[in-house]
């Protein structure tokens, strides 16, 4: 599958942003269909068989989060949302509704392309992959079969919760997971408001796995939104 065959639908009402995104995406070999509103975007998504949807949350006609919900009813095409800086709540809603990643305006094209790469790779290799034998990031090596974790060759002892948390992050490597998503998966639905559990265990994980826990390279905080495991 080459990039030239990939189809991107771009839903963005600002003409100038649409223009530079289209230019840069096309120069990367994507076929771009642009829509300036949510309804048109949904029509495009239904007809163009897209590989990726880039969606601005602040649309004039419908709420971007509603577009995601509508879309998720019949498609699991990867979605990257674009949002304003202060819209933490909107970002969380979008991610909880099923968006895969988000970018805060203003952003550079390099950043966008990097996110697209991660999302597309995850999507193409997703089913069953978490069951593969082992996973590496930085100097950390996770052996799933033996349920053991090594850092720079030395074994690190993780508690059951820490291990579940790490597993969840690895399964979604590169993707932002909201607090709710993580809490529901790791602690269960009864604890989705207990974000301090998550923060405490995340700090433990960093202590154990990061070389400088105060400046983590892999277990990244998305402020006000959630966490992301950055692999490279």
């Amino acid at each position: 599958m080459t990039a030239s065959q990939r189809v991107v639908i771009l839903v963005e009402d600002e003409k100038q942003i649409r223009k530079f995104l289209r230019t840069s995406l096309e120069s990367e070999g994507f076929t771009v269909y642009a829509a300036d509103g949510g309804r048109q975007g949904l029509v495009e998504a239904a007809t163009r068989k897209p590989d990726l949807l880039i969606l601005d949350l602040g649309l004039p006609d419908v709420d971007g989060v509603d577009v995601i919900r509508d879309l998720r009813a019949w498609s699991d095409v990867p979605i990257i949302v674009l949002s304003a800086r202060t819209g933490e709540a909107a970002k969380i809603d979008a991610l909880d509704a099923g968006a895969d990643d988000y970018l805060t305006k203003p952003f550079g094209v390099g950043e966008l392309l990097a996110r697209i790469r991660v999302v597309l790779r995850r999507f193409s290799t997703l089913p069953g992959d978490c069951d593969r034998g082992d996973f590496r990031f930085g100097s950390v090596h996770v052996d799933f079969h033996k349920r053991r974790v090594f850092r720079a060759g030395a074994e690190i002892h993780l508690t059951a919760t820490e291990y579940r948390l790490l597993g969840m992050l690895i399964r979604n490597a590169g993707k932002v997971l909201t607090h709710r998503q993580l809490l529901r998966e790791v602690w269960g639905p009864a604890h989705i408001e207990s974000s301090h559990y998550l923060r405490t265990y995340m700090a433990h994980l960093r202590q154990k796995l990061e070389s400088d826990p105060a400046r983590p390279k892999h277990l990244i905080t998305e402020t006000g939104v959630g966490y992301r495991l950055v692999v490279e």
Binding site: R85, T86, E88, P106, G108, R147, R148, V149, I156, H157, L158, T159, A160, T161, E162, Y163, W187, S195, H196, Y197, R199, T200, Y201, M202, A203, H204, R206, Q207, K208, D212, P213, A214, R215, P216, I220, T221, E222, T223, G224
Partner: protein
């Protein structure tokens, strides 16, 4: 030439009058000689005429008295429902003033202008309702009978022998825009009466036969027609003045009527009113209070107040003055006001006082140039009932006095007995003349100490005792030597003179004490008020002082910004204490007139409401619930109250203007701040914009640029854009924090994580910097808004990057001190200049002025706002190494449990840390 000129004052007054009339509604009066002439019928017919012309006319109240043809006229007119009023357990109806004001028709029919409203209504009289309607610009059609005119009331009473108590001031009648006489010849009226077409009210039914005598009817008709003719005459004169036809230029006359304590004050005032009207003169009613008059019973004083009130209603200016000599005070006032005529009442005096000169005589002796008119009195004008009631009351008062001074009589008897005993002892050694002196001394002492009664008793007893025990022949009242008679007379005279003198002296002293007390209370209130800087203080001072002086429950009611009076009395006050009525207070505030008890307006209220009039406008309402109304309404107390009120109003106004001035200052200050923000922003936004425009236009135009230059330019443009983005972010943050206030989304956070994400967000500008983070191990969770605290760290670190040398290190530390979490950000830069340590957190402050380092200086201000919202502190200091060090603290709370049960089934070794 001059004599052709109309009086400019009069012209001005007419202009003013016409001005008020233009906004006022028009008043049309249907005027009749007596009941039954068909006034209501004529009025309703006229209303139909108005309606036919398209005028919005409604019926407020119409008394048809069951007459079919009159009631028939109501059909086709909008009739406003009457207000139901409960009075003494009975359901009664009354004209609904508020409904009419709300309905605001062009013209309203309000029958029976002289009607007295039920107690508890806003105004005591219907004509006052009508005044308010006219003030509101609503035209009024109404009816009046001649006997209801105040000045004709007693004349009609004399003619018919029936006195009606419902009257209207003549000024209302004279100011009516139109008066239509509804006339019926007496014969026809009598015919109608026989046919039962005339409504006869229950009160006068018995007297009706007398009333509806032909002679009476003719007299009443004449009165009505003459009164109307007077009005037409006045109109004619006014018209001629308008046209400057009048050839004589005359100074305006001014009349002064002197009101005394006599029972016929009302008659005097009414007479003076008629006199003034005939002369077309202004008139003033004056009451001169002498020490003797101050001794009058409360009842008499109340009557004087009523008389003054009547004069005010009849259009007079009223004045109360204090003075020891009536005539002199009157004359000095008369001269000061340029009064040409004085009206005084003839007083009925007991025979023995007729030798003294009356006020009228004194006046004509002292000021021959002033005309003095004496109005005769009518003996027993109020009928036996009223007079006997009065007498009864006097007796009650007198009785009380007698009881109080029983002691005086006992002392008088005791003194006499004592003196007699002493005299008996001395009788053989001392001559009788000197013994008489002893008696004289005892009489003098009693007279000095007690009232006249004990003094006289003591004198009589002394004479008798002296005669009986000492003057030969002893133990007998017969006197051998006639010259002792002289001793008796002298003794009696002495007793009377001294008791009078002493009494006057005591009285003067008491008056002086009272005056001094009033002056002192006023002085103290004034001093306190002048020191007050807040409205609440003024209210408190006013309440305290007035409560003390007038013994009245006091409240100061103030308007809010929308000019609505708000009830400011504390809610927790005793429930049985009377409550002020906000609606009444509002009325007082709007109309700038007193209301409540003691006035004509809403007299049923427990409170007396007084507007707080200041030079610019009303500032509020003073409400008093007097325990003893006389303490508030006697002239001198009322004057004191008015002075208090104006002092309070002045203080309120002063405080108001101080506040206005402060607000203006603050406005200027914030204006200045806004300007400095604007200039700072425009500088900081224009710089990157200029760079951006330059860079991108170079890129767009220069096709021959080498590839690496193009890249460099593009990268520079991107950097500039990011710089601007962070500036805009700061501006938006500040605007949001200030507009919405800081709204914290608090959760339990780990400091390390917050620091980590702040550093990550800054990773680009931190490239090549040595950043060291040293957080103490085991820092607890902190309960903060993570996004905002990250913003604080971000701004502090960014600030450090901005000011420290490239390649220098930035150190972030976190530790616990005194129950707080402290976080510091330290750099190796030049540090802060002394004196900047505080101001660095102000908006738009930068370490170096107009430096190439961008940023409006909002970053630190945002930090301060956020930290303060978290109940923390933030400050700057210079580190020992020379760099700047910013420290903030956050309070530590008990962190929630993080349960370990999830780790129960550990399948590795336990978490090692």
């Amino acid at each position: 030439m001059n004599d052709q000129r109309p009086d400019p004052d009069r012209l001005l007054e007419r202009v003013r009058k016409e001005d008020t009339q233009r906004q006022r509604g028009r008043l049309k009066i249907f005027f009749g000689a007596c009941a039954g002439v068909g006034k209501t019928f004529a009025m309703l017919s006229a209303a139909h005429g108005l309606k036919a012309q398209g005028v919005d006319v409604v019926v407020g109240v119409a008394e048809t008295h069951g007459r079919v043809d009159t009631a028939g006229l109501l059909t086709g007119l909008e009739v406003l429902p009457l207000k139901a009023v409960e009075y003494q357990g009975r359901q009664l109806t009354e004209f609904d003033l508020d409904r009419t004001l709300a309905r605001k028709p062009e013209t309203v029919i309000v029958d029976e202008l002289a009607h007295s409203n039920l107690p508890g209504s806003r105004h005591a009289k219907r004509w006052q309702d009508v005044e308010e309607l006219l003030d509101a610009g609503i035209g009024v059609y109404t009816t009046v009978n001649v006997q209801h005119l105040e000045t004709l009331n007693d004349v009609v009473g004399q003619i018919t022998g029936i006195r009606v108590w419902e009257t209207i001031p003549d000024t209302v009648f004279d100011r009516a825009d139109e008066v239509t006489v509804v006339d019926l010849p007496p014969d026809e009226l009598l015919q109608r009466l026989k046919e039962g077409k005339v409504y006869v009210s229950e009160q006068i039914e018995r007297a009706a036969q007398n009333f509806f005598r032909k002679g009476n009817l003719i007299a009443l008709r004449e009165l009505a027609l003459r009164r109307t003719a007077d009005r037409v005459d006045a109109q004619m004169r006014e018209y001629r003045e308008d046209r400057s036809i009048r050839s004589v230029w005359q100074a305006k006359e001014r009349l002064l009527v002197c009101v005394g304590p006599g029972p016929d004050g009302g008659r005097l005032v009414r007479g003076a009113a008629r006199f003034a009207a005939n002369l077309r003169a202004d008139w003033i009613a004056i009451y001169v209070e002498t020490p003797r008059l101050q001794r009058l019973s409360g009842n008499d004083r109340d009557r004087i107040l009523r008389t003054l009130q009547l004069a005010r209603d009849l259009g007079a200016e009223t004045v109360t003055m204090g003075g020891s000599h009536v005539a002199a005070t009157l004359l000095s006032y008369a001269r000061s006001r340029n009064v040409s005529k004085l009206v005084v009442g003839r007083t009925s005096r007991p025979l023995w006082r007729r030798f003294a000169t009356s006020v009228a005589e004194q006046l004509s002796l002292m000021a021959p140039e002033v005309g003095v008119y004496v109005v005769g009195y009518e003996p027993d004008v109020h009928g036996a009932g009223g007079s006997s009631g009065l007498a009864q009351e006097r007796r009650v008062i007198a009785g009380g006095r007698r009881h109080n001074s029983t002691r005086g009589y006992v002392v008088a008897v005791a003194a006499c007995a004592g003196t007699t005993a002493l005299a008996m002892l001395l009788a053989n050694r001392v001559s009788l003349t000197n013994i008489a002196m002893l008696y004289l001394l005892s009489v003098m002492l009693v007279a000095f100490r007690y009232r006249r009664g004990p003094a006289v008793l003591s004198a009589v007893l002394a004479v008798l005792a002296f005669d009986f025990f000492l003057v030969p022949p002893k133990l007998s009242f017969s006197v051998s030597d006639a010259q002792y008679v002289i001793t008796f007379v002298v003794m009696l005279a002495m007793a009377l003179v001294i008791s009078n003198l002493a009494h006057n002296l005591r009285y003067q002293a008491r008056v002086a004490t009272l005056r001094e007390r009033r002056a002192r209370s006023l002085y103290e209130a004034a001093r306190e008020l002048s020191g007050a800087v807040q409205t609440e203080q003024i209210v408190e001072i006013a309440r305290r002082n007035i409560q003390g002086v007038f013994q009245a429950e006091t409240a100061v009611l103030l308007p809010d910004r929308a000019e609505r009076i708000v009830d400011s009395s504390p809610a927790g006050e005793a429930s049985n204490a009377p409550r002020t009525d906000t609606a009444v207070a509002q009325w007082v505030f709007d109309h700038q007139q007193p209301a409540g008890c003691g006035t004509d307006t809403l007299a049923a209220s427990a409170f007396y409401y007084l507007p707080l009039k200041a030079p610019i406008r009303s500032r509020g309402v003073l409400a008093l619930a007097p325990r003893n109304p006389r303490l508030v309404f006697v002239p001198e107390q009322h004057r004191l109250l008015e002075t208090f009120a104006s002092q309070i109003a002045l203080a309120l106004e002063r405080v108001h203007f101080v506040r206005v001035a402060q607000e203006a200052l603050m406005k200027i200050e914030s204006e200045r701040l806004r300007n400095s923000l604007l200039s700072a922003i425009s500088h900081d936004l224009r710089t990157p914009l200029t760079a951006l425009v330059g860079l991108t236009s170079t890129l767009a135009g220069g096709t021959e640029l080498p590839e690496h230059s193009r890249r460099e330019l593009a990268q520079a443009a991107a950097d500039e854009a990011m710089r601007m983005s962070s500036l805009v972010a700061n501006l938006l943050d500040m605007a949001r924090l200030q507009a919405e206030g800081v709204q914290l989304n608090r959760q339990w956070h780990v400091l390390e994580e917050i620091a980590g994400s702040a550093l990550r967000a800054l990773s680009k500008s931190l490239a090549g910097r040595d950043v060291r983070v040293s957080l103490d191990a085991g820092l607890p969770l902190i309960y903060v808004d993570g996004v905002l605290i990250e913003r604080v760290l971000y701004n502090l670190v960014e600030n450090a990057v901005k000011y420290a040398r490239a390649g220098s290190s930035i150190r972030i530390a976190g530790w616990i001190r005194e129950g707080e979490l402290a976080v510091s950000v330290e750099d190796d830069g030049p540090g802060l200049p002394p004196g900047m340590l505080e101001s660095v957190f102000d908006k738009f402050t930068r370490g170096q002025r107009e430096s190439s380092t961008s940023g409006v200086g909002l970053g630190l201000a945002i930090c301060k706002t956020i930290i303060q919202a978290h109940d923390g502190r933030i400050w700057a200091e210079n580190a020992r190494g020379g760099g700047a060090r910013f420290i903030f603290t956050l309070p530590l709370l008990e962190p929630p449990e993080v349960p370990e049960q999830f780790d129960a089934g550990v399948d590795g070794a336990p978490g090692g840390k």
